[in-house]
């Protein structure tokens, strides 16, 4: 399955290996892993909770992957996104793109992340010393998505 939403952690190396070895025309693999930082806006984070819109999440991710495959000459793409309570250092999201050559694989992987950041229904809530707060969307994410 090219997109998965799960509370369990993922094994990035195993996922990369699976996609890479499934197709011998692959010459380039680009992978992105997003992780929980210990700081955001200089405040220490003790926990990050990922909420999503269960009915829509998979189809939104699938649409992004389909769009990447239509726009870029790539072989395959995978997205795994976690939900639920995470700790600093934990993995949040994995995107793997395979292609014959590196240029398109880099572009497609960045495209998937930029679109995911603005179009996939996930929301982050941080727990800090002074309480919980929803993470605000960043204008830079809109700008990144608008490039494509």
């Amino acid at each position: 399955m090219p997109v998965r939403v799960q509370s369990d952690d993922f094994d990035g190396g195993a996922e990369i290996a699976k996609l890479r070895t499934a197709d011998r025309s692959v010459g380039a693999v680009v992978a992105f892993i997003g992780t929980v930082r210990d700081l955001n806006d200089d405040a220490a984070i003790s926990e990050l909770t990922l909420e999503h819109y269960p009915g829509m999440t998979e189809s939104a991710l699938q649409e992004i992957v389909d769009e990447a495959k239509a726009r870029f000459d790539i072989r395959d793409a995978l997205v795994v996104h976690r939900v639920g309570a995470l700790a600093p250092g934990d993995q949040i999201v994995l995107v793997v793109v395979t292609g014959a050559h590196r240029g398109m694989a880099f572009d497609a992987c960045e495209f998937v992340m930029d679109y995911l950041k603005t179009r996939a229904p996930f929301w982050k809530k941080e727990r800090r010393e002074d309480g919980e707060r929803w993470v605000e969307a960043r204008a830079s994410d809109d700008e990144a998505a608008a490039r494509w």
Binding site: E51, Y53, S59, M113, K117, W134
Partner: protein, 94 residues
């Protein structure tokens, strides 16, 4: 007969993340007042008229996003009887 002045529009509303908390609700059934060409904006106007958190969170200028039947849409997107309309803040995943 209601159809003489507009279509009957019964919706399932879904509130997510900050809006779910602000509205103290994950969603509700809403029957829209008869309307010729109902859009997401009509739903928002109906909710806003309730005042309180609905009025403040959905005030013009607040960043709010919408999905109809689980696809991202703009406020001018038409809605039809039976639709699921989700209202939420800009997404922040990844």
């Amino acid at each position: 007969m209601r159809d003489s002045v507009g279509n009957l529009v019964r919706l399932r509303l879904v509130y997510l993340a900050r809006l779910r908390e602000a509205f103290s609700s994950a969603g509700e059934r809403l029957e829209l007042a008869p309307h010729d060409a109902p859009t997401v904006a009509a739903v928002v106007a109906t909710l806003r008229a309730r005042g309180g958190a609905f009025e403040s969170e959905l005030a013009p200028g607040r960043a709010v996003r919408f999905a109809v039947n689980q696809r991202l849409v703009r406020a001018d997107h038409p809605i039809a009887d039976g639709d699921e309309v989700a209202i939420f803040p800009p997404v922040t995943g990844g």
